[in-house]
Every structure is written in structure tokens, then in C-alpha cells.
């Protein structure tokens, strides 16, 4: 039996569509990789401008050697009580520094990134915020990224 196929045909009922796969292969061993963190959890320096809890597409840069006590969260989309006790719950910077020291990874990306996910202007995230962070990481020769979100 042959099936007729119509390009672009879709249901009238709205259903979320999973986007096409994206993939960048890993080419190094962990011990040779510089790893960065990008988090949607609203992490930033205490000295930085807070995120607008109603929706914010901006992002904050966090130097790799920032002490954990100089960091905070502003995010309106989840219970912040755990992350207020210990930033490493969502931004495991101390753990990553320990793993670099132990030689498990080569080192950290010089700059980590914090933004407020879970809402905001999806279009801006897709066409501006995401690509901007990606290009900055690319320019710093970062080999892999751990993210916390969702």
C-alpha cells in the first residue's frame, strides 16, 4: 500500500511540536575539556541588575572564579528557597571548580551565563539571547556546557 503524502499538512488542533534535533559531537575526553555553565535559573552576581520577574530576555555574565556567596537568584517561576540556601543547587560552580582541581575536567569556561527561563519572549530568546550567549562561548573555546533548566 502506498500512502499519499502532503507536505506541510497539519492538524487544525493545536499541538506542541517538538523541534528538529540539534547535535554537536563531543570530540575530546573530559579531562581535556573546558566546561561552562549556562542556567535558566535566574542566577547573577549580587552586584548585578536583577531580572524582571514578569519576563526578562537579558542575561548576566558570571566570571568562573566568583565566590558562591557573591551570587544570588532572581526568578519568578520556581520556588527559590533551596537555591537561596545554596546556589550550587542550580549553579554547581563550586562542584565544577572542585572537579577541575581534581583533573576530572581541564577547567571552567572563563565566563558562565545566567538568564531567566521558563517564560518571557520566546522569539527574542530564539533569535537574540540564545545566539548571543552561544557566540560568546564559541569565542572563548568552550568545549562543553552544563545547563540547569526545566
Amino acid at each position: 500500500m502506498t500512502l499519499k503524502k502532503y507536505d506541510g499538512l497539519q492538524s487544525e488542533i493545536y499541538v506542541p511540536i517538538t523541534p528538529k534535533p540539534v547535535w554537536a559531537p563531543v570530540t575530546k575526553e573530559l579531562k581535556d575539556m573546558n566546561i561552562g555553565i549556562a542556567t535558566a535559573a535566574g542566577v547573577h552576581l549580587k552586584s548585578d541588575k536583577r531580572f524582571n520577574l514578569a519576563g526578562d530576555t537579558s542575561y548576566r555574565e558570571i566570571p568562573w572564579d566568583t565566590p558562591a556567596e557573591d551570587l544570588m537568584v532572581s526568578h519568578g517561576g520556581y520556588d527559590n528557597s533551596d537555591v537561596n540556601k545554596d546556589i550550587n543547587c542550580m549553579f554547581p560552580i563550586d562542584r565544577l571548580r572542585e572537579l577541575a582541581k581534581a583533573g576530572f575536567i581541564r577547567g571552567l569556561a572563563p565566563i558562565e551565563y545566567g538568564f531567566m527561563g521558563g517564560g518571557g519572549d520566546v522569539d527574542v530568546f530564539t533569535h537574540k539571547t540564545g545566539p548571543e550567549i552561544a557566540q560568546k562561548l564559541k569565542a572563548e573555546d568552550v568545549d562543553g556546557i552544563i545547563m540547569t533548566a526545566g
Binding site: 554547581p92 572537579l99 576530572f104 562561548l137 564559541k138 562543553g144 526545566g150
Partner: protein, 83 residues
């Protein structure tokens, strides 16, 4: 997941530590791990260095070993927040 996909598209491999795996699947995350944690403590219980180290190490191992896009690997750590 939008930002994860942007970074991956730029050629840098990424892995997401997720508390809500179904959301991650829906949004097309290339690689993810899912410890049993509540949203807000994705990388483990506050001040539990052992659990956080385990989660981060296992996440990095999966970054290297996951072979195809869309895979979500459960991690054997559990933290139940007292609400």
C-alpha cells in the same frame, strides 16, 4: 531549552540537568539527565556536596557518552524537598 539548542547549534555540545523530563523532551533538548529532584534543586539537595558532586560528575559522563539527540538519562539521586 531554547538557549541549549542555540549553543548546541553553534557547535558546542551541551547537557541539561532537568527536574521535569517531559518538558525537556517536548522542547527538543539534545542531551539531558534527570535526577529525582524538585524544580529549583536540579543539581541536588542544598549543601549536600556528595550528592551535587555525584550529579555533576554523572552529567559530565553522559555529556560524553550519549550517542544521539533527544536522550534523557535518569540519574540515581533523590532529594525530596520539605515544603
Amino acid at each position: 531549552m531554547i538557549v541549549q539548542r542555540a549553543i548546541e547549534s553553534a557547535g558546542i555540545p551541551t547537557i541539561l540537568i532537568a527536574a521535569l523530563p517531559p518538558v525537556v523532551r517536548q522542547n527538543g533538548s539534545p542531551r539531558a539527565v534527570a535526577p529525582r529532584v524538585p524544580m529549583g534543586a536540579n543539581a541536588g539537595e542544598p549543601n549536600n556536596v556528595e550528592m551535587q558532586t555525584g550529579i555533576v560528575k554523572d552529567t559530565l559522563k553522559q555529556l560524553v557518552s550519549i550517542e544521539s539527540a533527544g536522550k534523557i538519562v535518569p540519574l540515581p539521586y533523590e532529594y525530596i524537598a520539605k515544603v
